[in-house]
């Protein structure tokens, strides 16, 4: 089964050509690798590629097929695209909203805007506190606040939607 895998902007097709014991022969794009792959810990693999010893850790996200892959010095954000869902021409419609998501888990110290406010690039929106640091989150561009999903003293998770701004 041939599938497509995305890393950042790059997209390649992958196919397992052969599997003998722990040795996988895999084609990726134009290239072919013969890898000795063993799972050594939860989510951690030891890979021998032509003698080179590589350790990789896979952290699956909420989204099926989305992985953060940590190698020695790099970290890749990789999506395995199910063959059926794969549509090379299907571009996402341009975002007309600026969605302000929490960049970290934390607590809302202050909400500086309300629904209906117009904001400019640099307008302070929210002060968020985590691990004793206060961080001011600013608008990246101009627009109108259409939704404020948090209030003071709320605890927020990493990536949680806080404010929706119509551009």
């Amino acid at each position: 089964m041939k599938m497509h895998v995305k890393s950042g902007n790059k997209e390649k097709s992958i196919k397992v050509l052969k599997k003998e014991g722990d040795i996988f022969t895999v084609s990726v794009g134009e290239k072919t690798y013969e890898l000795d792959v063993v799972k050594v810990e939860e989510g951690v693999y030891s890979i021998l590629n032509n003698g080179n010893s590589i350790n990789m850790e896979m952290i699956a996200s909420d989204q099926p097929g989305n992985y953060k892959v940590n190698t020695l010095y790099n970290s890749f954000n990789i999506d395995v695209l199910p063959a059926v869902a794969f549509s090379p021409n299907g571009k996402v419609k341009k975002e007309a909203h600026q969605l302000i998501k929490s960049p970290m888990p934390g607590k809302i110290v202050r909400v500086k805007v309300k629904v209906g406010d117009t904001v400019e690039a640099g307008t302070p929106l929210i002060v968020l506190s985590a691990m004793k640091m206060e961080n001011e989150i600013k608008s990246e561009g101009k627009g109108t606040v259409t939704k404020v999903a948090v209030k003071e003293d709320d605890l927020v998770k990493d990536g949680q939607l806080m404010i929706d701004i119509k551009v």
């Binding site: 895998v5 890393s7 790059k10 390649k12 992958i14 397992v16 599997k19 014991g21 722990d22 996988f24 895999v26 990726v28 794009g29 290239k31 690798y33 890898l35 792959v37 063993v38 799972k39 050594v40 810990e41 939860e42 989510g43 951690v44 693999y45 890979i47 590629n49 590589i54 990789m56 850790e57 896979m58 952290i59 699956a60 099926p64 097929g65 992985y67 892959v69 940590n70 190698t71 020695l72 010095y73 790099n74 890749f76 990789i78 999506d79 395995v80 960049p103 970290m104 888990p105 934390g106 607590k107 506190s129 985590a130 691990m131 004793k132 640091m133 206060e134 961080n135 605890l155 990493d158």
Partner: protein, 503 residues
């Protein structure tokens, strides 16, 4: 004789203090907030008692509760660690009033040094050089701006009760002055319950160099040499080393003399740290004295062989210092890296969360002082410090290579950490050359946070592994039930990637 110590702290420093208690045959009492029930200091201490809800103000800053637990558990002494109540005069006094021993200096010394403005005038009297600056700032914005103009930009705003970079703001021009002041006051109020802020001249290319002091109750004061702490982000230290690659033997001797004079001027007792700023022409100025154990104390322990926590406890026991100044010798070179749960490429945003996987660096010349473990959830209420990685080697060059090796081994996942950021610091030429000041991180932030040029092969293999893991997940349930496990239970599903061949 102290037989049981309550540690009024959490995280790595609580574990570190309990370690020394254990080695001395002293029982330890941990206290914890609701966010810390599973924290290592609770599991590692002999006893543990709940303080209250997660916010510090209701737990680790709750003096009444801490003292009542000390009484109830029959502890005879309290070690405050660093941060929280470690430099709180009320706390020290209340402990003494309760008939307990405070492992730290006298309340008078804390008061004198704890308020940075009082300390400045005290040092002036004792003949210790201080940085040009103000007393507490006036109310009117115009008056503040005038003072800043007199000192000359850039100026530094500092919380009078401060420490650890909190309530501190660098101001480069007048337009930033008042907004920065408001932020500094707000942080100071949150962190210390005291919003007093003062202003100091900001020195050019300054080095942050501090001296470790040990003093007993019998008038002996010694120094344990310096620590170079100029690698900072957001005014918080990231890497410290000793000896400093910047100062000369003559400068070291002159600074040590003033450090001891500063400690003597307040009849200091126990472990303390005198911080100096040293400008590019090697002029040095007293910055502040931290009247407590310092985060970076382990590098001093490594080059001198002295266990500073044990020494603190012995001083609190009224014992005289075991070492005289000429017996204290600095051997080799030690570097500490603070490992934070933070995202260096994203403005050092804190990254609390669940530790999925951790591999500690081990072997020759490596020490870690930490407190997290697999499955532990780092709370968002406290410091992002996960652990401290300390290395020693005969020379500075060897120590840097060892640090790189240890960072290579150090794997923490689940939360973001600054491990690869510290690795970049170890490879940056100014650091390797020992030629850096407190601007180092800011001046080199782009190269320090730039990802390694990823070779195509690594990326290809990462893509393959994501694909294989994904396929394996799809097949897992079947594999899991099929698996013959020697222990009879499917403990962990390691080894061969696929139990059967799906291709």
């Amino acid at each position: 004789m102290i037989k049981k110590v309550l540690v009024a702290n959490r995280g790595e420093i609580a574990v570190r203090i309990v370690r020394s208690c254990r080695e001395m045959g002293i029982r330890s009492v941990a206290v914890y907030s609701d966010a810390d029930r599973t924290s290592m200091h609770v599991r590692y201490a002999d006893e543990a008692y709940r303080l209250g809800p997660a916010p510090s103000s209701e737990s680790y800053l709750n003096i009444d509760k801490i003292i009542s637990i000390a009484k109830k558990s029959k502890a005879d002494a309290i070690h405050p660690g660093y941060g929280f109540l470690s430099e709180n005069t009320d706390f020290a006094n209340r402990i003494l009033q309760a008939g307990l021993i405070f492992i730290g200096p006298s309340a008078e010394a804390i008061t004198a040094m704890g308020d940075k403005m009082t300390a400045r005038s005290l040092m002036k009297k004792a003949g210790v050089t201080i940085v040009p600056g103000t007393d507490e700032l006036p109310e009117a914005d115009e008056d503040i701006k005038k003072l800043a103009r007199e000192i000359g930009y850039p100026v530094m705003l500092k919380a009078s009760a401060g420490g650890g970079g909190k309530g501190m703001r660098l101001v480069k021009s007048e337009e930033d002055l008042i907004p920065s002041l408001l932020r500094a006051k707000s942080e100071a109020r949150t962190a210390f319950g005291n919003e007093a802020v003062y202003m100091e001249k900001y020195l050019l290319e300054p080095h942050h160099i501090e001296f470790q002091i040990m003093a007993d109750n019998h008038g002996h004061v010694v120094h344990l040499f310096e620590r170079e702490c100029s690698v900072q982000r957001r005014h918080q230290k990231v890497v410290e080393e000793t000896p400093s690659p910047f100062i000369t033997p003559e400068l070291r001797a002159a600074m040590a003399e003033q450090a001891i004079a500063a400690a003597k001027s307040v009849n200091y007792s126990g472990a303390g740290t005198v911080e100096f700023l040293v400008d590019k022409d090697r002029n040095f100025y007293f910055l502040e004295m931290n009247t407590r154990l310092q985060v970076e104390h382990p590098i001093t322990e490594r080059v001198t062989g002295i266990d500073i926590v044990k020494a603190q406890i012995k001083v609190a026991n009224n014992e005289p210092l075991e070492m005289s100044q000429n017996e204290i010798i600095q051997r080799g070179h030690a570097i500490e890296a603070r490992i934070y749960a933070e995202d260096p490429v994203n403005n050092f945003n804190p990254s609390p969360g669940l530790i999925r996987h951790i591999t500690e660096p081990l072997g020759l010349g490596v020490r870690t002082d930490g407190y997290v473990y697999e499955g532990f959830e780092i709370p968002m209420y406290y410091d992002p410090l996960i652990s401290k990685l300390i290395v020693w080697a005969p020379t500075r060059a060897d120590a840097i290579e060892r640090m790189k090796r240890a960072l290579y081994e150090y794997k923490i996942t689940g939360v973001k950490t600054n491990i690869s950021f510290v690795q970049s610091i170890m490879q940056a030429q100014p650091f390797v050359d020992g030629n850096y000041n407190t601007h180092f991180i800011d001046d080199h932030i782009d190269e320090l946070t730039k990802p390694d040029t990823s070779d195509e092969e690594s990326e290809d293999i990462a893509m393959i592994m994501a694909y294989l893991d994904y396929q394996n997940q799809q097949n897992k349930r079947m594999d899991f039930t099929k698996k013959q496990s020697p222990g009879g239970s499917n403990w962990k599903n390691f080894g061969r990637l696929f139990r059967h061949n799906p291709y």
